[in-house]
Symmetry: C2
Subunit: 277 residues, 2 copies
């Protein structure tokens, strides 16, 4: 999938919403637990209800791994379902991997080849040769952590470097810009930190940013959108808990769809203000 393919979806759906499938088996409606793969059944219903309003889905691998092999199967089934039924949708493994070259190659195999994810989130601490094996998979993306949405982002990401007086996250972005292209690299920029978006856009004027932290974590969609949108979109804003757990009854999918539609309506205003549509 190319940068242009994603932009086309954003224009078509008037949305840059990414729905986060952080599916916790303890939080889904009880009646689903009778099914063989309750997490998949939950995801399928959420996807069908939200897909008119969302351009991307993000599966948080931790939630699936906490269920062992059955969780892994639910993750595979969910990706298969998405790519088979909604092939234009961008599907992200929020896995935060990154290791020595021969190991990153195995993660690339697991997520970008064996499973049909379009993208994987990657942590930058181990540097270029931990990232490049993902970039060498044709047509797939990495989404590199720059500024995360949690409090701990202050511990190291915000540390000031001697050379250039830049923050560590700025060094990460500036350096990683040479590793990939507009068509295979995005950056994670936390929605709880709208103050960094200006500098992010100076460093990476056209790259897509994946923005977590809106909703439960306190990020503000309006501030993020006005600082981050480019004329070609350039943003994917994730919402997980606020959408998928909006209702705990047998109407859960319908209510999730309504939540996604409300967010899409707000996004449509910002897309118009930024002249994307």
């Amino acid at each position: 999938m190319t940068h242009q393919d994603i932009t086309r979806q954003i224009i078509s759906k008037k949305s840059y919403l990414c729905v986060g499938l952080d599916t916790d088996i303890n939080k889904i409606p009880r009646f689903l637990l009778e099914k063989e793969y309750p997490v998949f059944e939950f995801n399928r219903a959420i996807i069908d209800a939200t897909v008119p309003f969302a351009v991307a889905y993000k599966l948080n691998t931790a939630f699936y791994e906490s269920l062992g092999a059955a969780g892994w199967i639910s993750m595979e089934m969910t990706v298969d379902y998405l790519k088979k039924n909604y092939p234009d949708v961008f599907v992200i493994a929020d896995a935060k991997r990154g290791d020595v070259g021969n190991t990153s190659r195995m993660y690339a195999l697991a997520f970008l080849k064996n499973m049909l994810f379009d993208a994987i989130t990657v942590a930058p601490y181990m540097g270029e040769d931990s990232v490049s094996p993902f970039l060498s998979v044709e047509g797939k993306w990495i989404i590199l952590l720059a500024v995360t949405s949690n409090k701990g982002a202050d511990d190291f990401q915000m540390s000031v470097q001697q050379e250039g007086s830049e923050h560590l996250w700025e060094r990460v972005v500036r350096t990683a810009m040479n590793w990939g292209s507009l068509n295979n690299m995005m950056f994670v920029v936390g929605g709880t930190r709208p103050e960094v978006f200006g500098r992010m856009r100076k460093l990476a004027p056209e790259h897509f940013f994946l923005v977590p932290g809106i909703g439960a974590q306190g990020g503000d969609l309006k501030a993020v959108s006005s600082a981050g949108l480019t004329p070609k979109g350039g943003l994917l804003v994730n919402s997980s808990r606020a959408i998928i757990y909006a209702d705990g009854t047998n109407r859960f999918a319908q209510v999730a769809g309504n939540m996604a539609r409300d967010i899409q309506k707000e996004m449509e205003v910002y897309l118009s203000q930024s002249r994307v549509i």
Copy 2:
């Protein structure tokens, strides 16, 4: 498992060897492929042959994930086999995880509660609240990346900080020392970089270091040991490919055992020189 428990094993086996089960299904003897779980069968044979000479085993999660749910089951079976048959052995999930708090809690559940790993490797980029959920699991450990063994370690880990003129990895170690204790935190220090061991030991005089990069990656056991050993041991040195792929025939386990024994014999000399035994 406590710091003292690990030291006791080191003294008893005269070894600080960690065997890395980076088991690649394309590299194991062909006759094993007839089995239902060939990766587990390979691991079991390697474990039985090497356990007299090893105090720890490290499973690299990427290799298991590349096989999907069957790989996940092989990982679970391997950990179960180790903890059931050799309960004194220290078992590490080399997973390099780390995410926002509610997600790190899910990874802690997956690896330290549902599976019986004693420890998990964690990447520091996202800071304290991405690490602390692992530390709150009683009796379990995190092994935080400080200096990794790959070339990419130069990209960010070696960057010099404005405050204190220290490298990023030194800031990581100095900061993280306040998060955990001698009984729940170790650091990864690459065996390809013996020059950093002196400073690592100043920052963390008594902590265990997990040292990858010996063997295939070029690290030197003697240099690492003389710089890293403390009177209480304080080192776990990993070897993966040099041991587990030492032979490709039906004698693979026996030859792996011989390799492990050779390394143990060398370690015994260094343990004696450092007055651990």
